[in-house]
Symmetry: C2
Subunit: 352 residues, 2 copies
């Protein structure tokens, strides 16, 4: 990707990469999910956006397939064979779907991608089971399809999940922390949480193919670190969308994160501004009463006035630039590395 | 173990084996759990019976450690090195604990081992997270500690989990099936469900060490099949305990499975007897009203009168005998094979 390309060119290239990777991965993903017991299979199909709760074809689109695309591009960048890329991509998409299903239970989120979340559609117990089935299937896919280095690949995936659990645990614990004062959640704490909760799996996505292909440790490390930074940026953009995003685009309620009083990056950035606006925001959020539409709108306006939206997007841009530095410093296949960087920018372009 | 040994000798030998295996495995298990985030670590410690919900030392005993003991004995029987036995045992105990935590959520069970179940003690969302953390830790333990064959070992564990999910899904679906008529759950359906839900992990426990040590496929197969049969027997005995067991011993309410109207093996056996007692039982269970203490007691008496308790224990004995046949037919190290068979009988002796 030369500097002369326009933003629109890059978006088109990212969309092309996503489509190409999806075409490569989806048959294997469908085959893997097809081996599940009919009930978890239906729930998995719903969570993957393939069908409605009754099993009929889905009326709305599923996820964008960013993680499996990162897995394919990471594998290609390290010169891995296609089988390794596909096994890695299938495993990563299964794990991602498993975490969405379980996270929605933990966070009590009722909506996901314009529809009921899985636990809302099928009940909590069945959704727990569906998540477990997806996780087991991911490990099985990697163990069986990963060849001689499958043990190392499963180790990498499991280590990413350990970090993910770490981040998710911190995120849940953040809920009980105060909004202000010495016990308040700091921005570095938030970024460490997001690196675990979102970054670890993206790092794993980029590195799995290279590990399966026996790439040199510095390449694996560079891709892992790039993915972790991308994931953290991704979470920052998600937080902006959760506060100011258009529900028609996000599939979630407007000001959703505010109504749930979630400690997101823009909220923490706004509170740390120490202006009259941030103090009014703290008072609104600290009140035991739930926010109304009017107070949520007010809170979003106050956050905007502290510059929190811009600060969060700037943070995301900085993280993506750091990720691209890791990618350019490693000896990667040029075409795939370019596609990777194009896709990284697309992650931010979801918002701007 | 010679035929001259008494039942008490065998029990003592089984207890010795359990203690020996626990001493071998517990340090590695504690080390693995110690690497978790403090919050899931505390929940995992609670679920493993090491501490109370507030983190203080446990007042009651944890599980009997049957699965890790099977893993150690299976490894020893196949001549595997001690590291392989320990890695297998730790992984199996972590997975077992993960399934207990998640199954209690799915089944709505509030009590486990004389205490609140994990979701009751910590909340549903945190318990989902604790289970996920245990699963990820199990995969990581096996992937990192399993040496050259860790990929195959993780594949075996994941395949066992696929069967476990299959069995759990069937068990949940059984709840909506009628008690009588052509749609009723049959005994073979029940046994297939139990082989998946309980047998698969015991089969995996016995086979993991041998797989890590590169044992010949027929040995792995014999141990897998023996474990599956043992697990099915174990479930049958559990069902008897869930109906007639002494709450002081089981840690669960008396007639617990009846109050929950669970389709257990003794209930299905009683209903299939086609006597006036089984018809009265069907009427009690089919009524939309919950059972009272009096009607639950009556149901247990009716079941007893159909011979269902004896039939279920006979079924368990038959399954254990078949398991021992698999063990004697495989070329195993004699000492470990004897200990395995002694332990198998102990599983039944929990009840008689």
């Amino acid at each position: 990707m030369t500097p002369q390309t326009t933003l629109e060119d890059r978006r088109a290239s990212a969309r092309d990469a996503l489509e190409r990777c999806q075409a490569l991965v989806e048959p294997a993903l469908k085959e893997a999910v097809g081996t599940l017991h009919p009930w978890p299979r239906r729930m998995a199909g719903y969570a993957l956006g393939w069908c409605e709760a009754d099993g009929s074809p889905a009326a709305t689109a599923g996820g964008k397939g960013i993680r499996p695309a990162l897995a394919v591009l990471g594998a290609e960048a390290a010169g891995a064979p296609e089988e390794a890329a596909v096994a890695a991509a299938v495993a990563v998409e299964l794990v991602h779907t498993f975490t969405l299903v379980h996270d929605d239970i933990m966070d009590g989120d009722e909506r996901r991608r314009h529809r009921d979340s899985a636990w809302k559609a099928f009940g909590t117990g069945p959704a727990v089971l569906a998540g477990d089935a997806l996780f087991a299937l991911a490990a099985e896919t990697l163990a069986r399809g990963g060849g001689a280095r499958s043990g190392a690949a499963v180790g990498l995936l499991a280590a990413a999940l350990r970090e993910l659990v770490h981040g998710q645990a911190d995120d849940l614990l953040f809920e009980d922390r105060p909004w202000t004062g010495p016990e308040a959640v700091t921005l570095p704490e938030y970024l460490a949480m997001a690196a675990g909760k979102t970054g670890s799996l993206l790092g794993c996505a980029l590195a799995l193919g290279p590990v399966l292909a026996g790439a040199h440790p510095p390449v694996v490390l560079a891709l892992t670190e790039a993915g972790r930074l991308l994931g953290t940026a991704f979470q920052a953009v998600d937080d902006v969308l959760g506060t100011w995003g258009d529900p028609r685009a996000t599939g979630k309620p407007v000001h959703g994160d505010l109504f749930r009083k979630k400690k997101t990056l823009p909220v923490l950035a706004a509170l740390s501004a120490s202006t009259p606006d941030s103090r009014e925001l703290a008072a609104l959020l600290s009140s035991p009463a739930p926010l109304t539409e009017a107070t949520a709108h007010r809170a979003a306006t106050l956050m905007e006035r502290t510059g929190a939206r811009t600060a969060t997007l700037t943070q995301a841009r900085t993280l993506i630039a750091a990720a691209c530095d890791h990618l350019t410093s490693a000896p990667l296949a040029p075409g795939a590395a370019d596609e990777l960087m194009g896709l990284s920018e697309y992650l931010l372009a979801r918002y701007v």
